[in-house]
């Protein structure tokens, strides 16, 4: 009892700075609790919202409802066994989580990832980006009231998940990206299915545009709503499509190419005003660019090993275990103890569907990471909610929240 009231008392410390002057005697603001279970928060996000009629005066995000201590758990696992838990942070961008983490560990090890593995990573990262954007598009359209879009987007997402299942055996949290490369080469028939998807996807994206962007209601809902200028966004640490929508052409794939992104020809969609419409268009345009990247990676897929040939780091091929004593020893060592990483720290940022996924790994020389921290874009971008939606309508607030696209697994980790 006292515990609960203490908690409530502390919650009262959430202050609202936006009480307009002259209120109090006859008027008061309405404080509304959005979430943690609310259809529009896309997870367990709680927002304390202050309303003046239909107009929103202030919003405070309260997070932590799906905090599962992944960063702590990762400290208790050997390096390569931490990949599955790291993947579960942002559950719509599992390849990106794994890529950032593996990239950090590879840097600490000084590993050179073979080109084929890099290309395979790019293919899957971009598929993941399309998949994440499709979920975003479907759920945002649902929030705006265009509910059929949800099913159309999930239809294409299903194809991507099937591709994931084909290459890795899992539809979600695939654990495909390994330290030193990828777990397996793509199976026979994958390229053909992928090609079919690549031919299909731009047409589907055109259809989405026809359905949404030529709709007067949707344009009215998105245009000139909740803009935020680039300077404020940069101060808030916002990255990804939100920043690009405000006209800053910042994309780590171009600026600091990793995993051979410099070998592909693609464009960075950039908005002009930074309103919801730009945010929408930038993400939608990225669907096409990702398709272009995958097409190039598929066409130019180099021959060679799919994982680095370093038996101290990567598991030996299964068939060798039956014939080679050394392979068996390596296998045993890796599975039981894992590999040791020399002391050091690394911050490895990559460009995810929501912005900069930066993985900080500190190695203390043992077989387990001493610290794994994911700088998750959802977590940082969520701070932009309040400046964006101040003095907007409730409906615009919902639309903006959809455009920010926070994934609560990534926010709370």
């Amino acid at each position: 009892m006292s515990l609960l009231s203490d908690h409530r008392k502390r919650e009262e410390s959430v202050t609202f700075s936006s009480e307009p002057a002259g209120m109090g005697e006859t008027h008061e603001l309405l404080t509304l609790n959005f979430g943690p279970h609310h259809p529009a928060t896309h997870g367990v996000l709680r927002l304390l919202v202050t309303l003046e009629g239909e107009v929103l005066r202030d919003v405070k995000p309260i997070i932590g409802y799906v905090h599962t201590g992944i960063e702590k758990t990762a400290e208790d696992k050997s390096y390569w066994k931490a990949i599955p838990v790291v993947e579960r942070m942002d559950y719509l961008a599992y390849y990106f989580n794994a890529m950032a983490y593996c990239g950090a560990v590879e840097t600490l090890l000084g590993l050179e990832v073979p080109p084929r593995a890099q290309y395979l990573r790019v293919i899957h990262l971009e598929l993941n980006r399309i998949m994440s954007h499709l979920v975003w598009l479907g759920t945002s359209a649902l929030d705006l009231g265009a509910m059929s879009m949800f099913w159309y987007c999930f239809r294409e997402r299903e194809t991507i998940l099937d591709l994931f299942e084909m290459s890795s055996g899992q539809r979600m949290h695939t654990r495909y990206i390994q330290i030193g490369g990828v777990i397996e080469d793509i199976p026979a028939g994958f390229a053909r299915k992928l090609q079919a998807f690549l031919d299909e996807m731009p047409r589907r994206a055109d259809q989405y545009a026809d359905l949404l962007e030529k709709n007067e209601i949707l344009l009215g809902r998105l245009r000139d709503t909740c803009p935020l200028d680039a300077e404020t966004l940069l101060g808030l640490g916002v990255t990804g499509p939100l920043l690009r929508a405000a006209g800053v052409p910042w994309d780590l794939r171009k600026a600091q190419p990793y995993s051979s992104y410099d070998q592909f020809d693609f464009k960075i969609p950039v908005g002009s005003v930074g309103d919801n419409y730009d945010r929408f268009r930038v993400r939608h345009a990225e669907l096409y660019e990702s398709v272009k990247i995958i097409q190039q990676a598929l066409n130019g897929l180099p021959e060679g090993p799919h994982i680095v040939d370093d038996r101290k780091v990567t598991l030996p091929p299964r068939h060798e275990l039956a014939t080679s004593m050394e392979a068996l020893i390596h296998h045993f060592k890796l599975v039981t103890e894992g590999f040791r990483v020399p002391e050091g720290e690394c911050y490895y940022p990559i460009e995810g569907p929501r912005g900069e996924y930066g993985c900080f790994v500190r190695a203390d020389g043992s077989a387990k990471p001493a610290r794994v921290h994911m700088r998750d874009p959802s977590f940082v971008n969520l701070q932009a909610t309040a400046p964006m939606v101040k003095d907007a309508y409730i409906a615009d607030f919902i639309a903006t929240l959809a455009m920010i696209d926070p994934v609560l697994g990534g926010v709370d980790r």
Binding site: L3, D6, H7, R10, E11, S13, T15, I63, G64, H67, G69, E71, K72, T73, E75, D76, T107, L108, L109, G110, L111, E112, T232, L234, G235, L236, G237, V238, T239, V248, W250, A255, Q256, P257, Y258, S260, K312, F339, R340, P342, G344, E345, C346, Y347, P349, E356, G358, F360, R362, A370, R371, H373, R375, F379, V380, L382, Q383, D412, R413
Partner: protein, 182 residues
């Protein structure tokens, strides 16, 4: 095991060791005590600073072009002292240049000045570091726990905090509450 390579292979630019020293030297000239050391390993340029001087150093770096605070996170260096580290990952977007600034504080006096007035985006991240490591950010507008419950005790990301040390709250056999009177 291959030794750590001096420069990141296929990586992105950071200030080369000379450039990092130049930055450190300029900072030393401004304030002789602010820099504790520099490291340039694995393609990571890092400046260790005196925690009480973090704001002037970061301001200086920001004015020099490192305008974007990419990430702010905490580390526990247990059993080394001072145990806790607060790391600022700074980014120069024009030169595409990253530099890390690390301030180490001890658990007894875990306090450091907040940088939210420079980067409002540090708000949540400083709260997270406070929540997980117990570093108090002086001048933070709203320093409360962010991920853990408000009434939580302890700082779970510290290395001496055990995993699995959190009792799960099962209510089945409680004497009061729903279902107890059945």
């Amino acid at each position: 095991m291959s030794p750590p390579v001096a420069a990141r292979r296929g990586g992105w630019p950071v200030p080369d060791p000379g450039g990092l020293e130049a930055i450190a030297q300029a900072l030393r000239e401004a304030d002789p005590d602010c820099i504790l050391g520099t490291t340039h390993v694995n393609g990571r340029a890092e400046i260790q600073i005196e925690p009480s001087r973090n704001v002037p150093v970061l301001e200086w770096l920001r004015d020099r072009g490192y305008t974007f605070l990419a990430s702010l996170h905490g580390v526990d260096y247990y059993p080394h002292e001072p145990r806790l580290g607060v790391i600022y990952e700074l980014l120069d977007m024009r030169e595409v240049d990253r530099v890390s600034v690390k301030a180490r504080v001890s658990t007894d006096d875990a306090r450091i000045a907040s940088v939210t007035f420079m980067w409002p985006g540090a708000d949540f991240q400083e709260r997270e570091v406070y929540d997980m490591f117990g570093v108090e950010f002086e001048g933070h507008p709203d320093l409360r726990r962010i991920l853990m419950p408000e009434d939580y005790e302890g700082f779970p990301q510290r290395r001496d905090f055990p995993t699995g040390g959190e009792p799960v709250l099962f209510t089945h056999n409680e004497t009061d509450g729903y279902g107890a009177d059945r």
